[in-house]
């Protein structure tokens, strides 16, 4: 960055054109790890889009009735059937974990080591509870006879789409939880203050890593917003 810092960077659309036309790095003022995370998330956006588009295609082209998700995912509490109760709780948990993640990023930049670690652990535990509820939901539906190839409530594609989409999202959450625990441990140990090298890359980390981790975690929340709207509410 030292060579380019002599020329002041332009803002807005002018900046967009000059950054991309600079014959240098296009993403200026952004750590490379963060730019690469964004590129990865863009590719992940395409993967999840393809899943949801295949769901749309299956649902629009089937001649059998689509199961009513409001009833399939209902939970009976005190004898009253509440639609989508577990899904709603999962949604609120994921949003809460996104909030704690955002605050962990802030604490990290303020070098509040213990606060950042505590918030990261909290985020990881909320994510873990999300995965736990998903496991509960899966076992409940499997018990009711929903399979990737058939289900008793209507169109057969329902089962395959459900297990594929929520399974892939749940896998993302699980990976996120693992990395949250790793990041939290590193923060708590003070790796980003002492410059201790990572066990895998053997690079020195900085507090920016929490922001990169946060991008991934918010993306998982973002994907859930779309799954919630299109699969559960549609």
């Amino acid at each position: 960055m030292s060579a380019t810092s002599k020329v002041p960077l332009k803002d807005g659309m002018e900046g967009f054109v000059s950054d991309w036309a600079s014959d240098q790095r296009a993403f200026k003022g952004v750590p490379w790890g963060k730019a690469m995370m964004w590129i990865f998330l863009l590719s992940d956006t395409f993967i999840f889009s393809i899943f949801l588009i295949s769901y749309m295609t299956a649902r629009w082209s089937t001649v059998e009735p689509w199961p009513n998700t409001s009833e399939v995912f209902a939970l009976t509490v005190n004898g009253v059937s509440v639609p989508l109760l577990l899904i709603a709780i999962m949604t609120f948990i994921l949003i809460t974990s996104s909030g704690t993640m955002a605050m962990a990023v802030r604490s990290g930049y303020q070098k509040k080591r213990k606060q950042a670690a505590a918030l990261l652990y909290l985020t990881a535990i909320l994510g873990l509870s999300f995965v736990g509820m998903q496991a509960f939901e899966w076992s409940k539906l499997i018990e009711e006879g929903i399979r990737p190839w058939e289900n008793p409530f209507g169109a057969r594609q329902f089962g395959s789409i459900f297990f594929m989409v929520t399974g892939f999202h749940g896998f993302h959450v699980s990976v996120g939880v693992i990395f949250l625990f790793i990041t939290a441990r590193k923060v708590l140990r003070g790796d980003y203050d002492t410059g201790r090298r990572g066990f895998f890359t053997w690079q020195k980390g900085r507090y920016e890593i929490i922001e990169t981790m946060g991008l991934y975690w918010h993306f998982v929340d973002l994907v859930w917003v779309f799954i919630f709207a299109f699969f559960y509410l549609w």
């Binding site: 952004v30 059998e64 059937s81 909030g99 973002l222 917003v225």
Partner: protein, 129 residues
């Protein structure tokens, strides 16, 4: 220019957090109240896009990023819109040909109703054997 991290007041995050909670409650309410048809789809999409916008803009710091990054990530997603259009067209004529060639005239096969409904009056006599 140094590589700077994103640091913003905690109140911003808390307000957006609250907003996401309210929007999620609204989208859940759409199902709970039982809106159907056009009203349902419009409300679901509205709350979905609002939530997606606030997560991207504030939690992922998109509004504070340089235009080169914002547009570099946003413009490619238009390929998805095109793909949705293509596959929407595909599913439309697939369903049409299925109806034309495979429709037996019999009612659709539904073997069971979701749990919690099996004790309702309409189905009490059907499967009592």
């Amino acid at each position: 220019m140094a590589e700077e991290g994103q640091e913003h007041p905690i109140s911003t995050y808390l307000w957006v957090w609250l907003l996401l909670f309210v929007l999620s409650a609204f989208s859940y309410a759409v199902d709970y109240v039982g809106f159907q048809g056009f009203t349902r789809w419009t409300l679901v999409l509205l709350f979905m896009f609002l939530k997606a916008y606030f997560i991207c803009a504030v939690f992922m710091h998109m509004v504070w990023e340089r235009m080169a990054l914002v547009l570099g990530l946003f413009i490619p997603t238009f390929a998805i819109v095109v793909f949705i259009g293509i596959m929407g067209f595909e599913s439309d004529y697939t369903q049409l040909s299925r109806k034309v060639f495979f429709d037996t005239g019999k009612p659709p096969t539904v073997y069971a109703v979701p749990h919690g409904k099996e004790h309702s009056k309409d189905h009490s006599g059907d499967e009592a054997h």
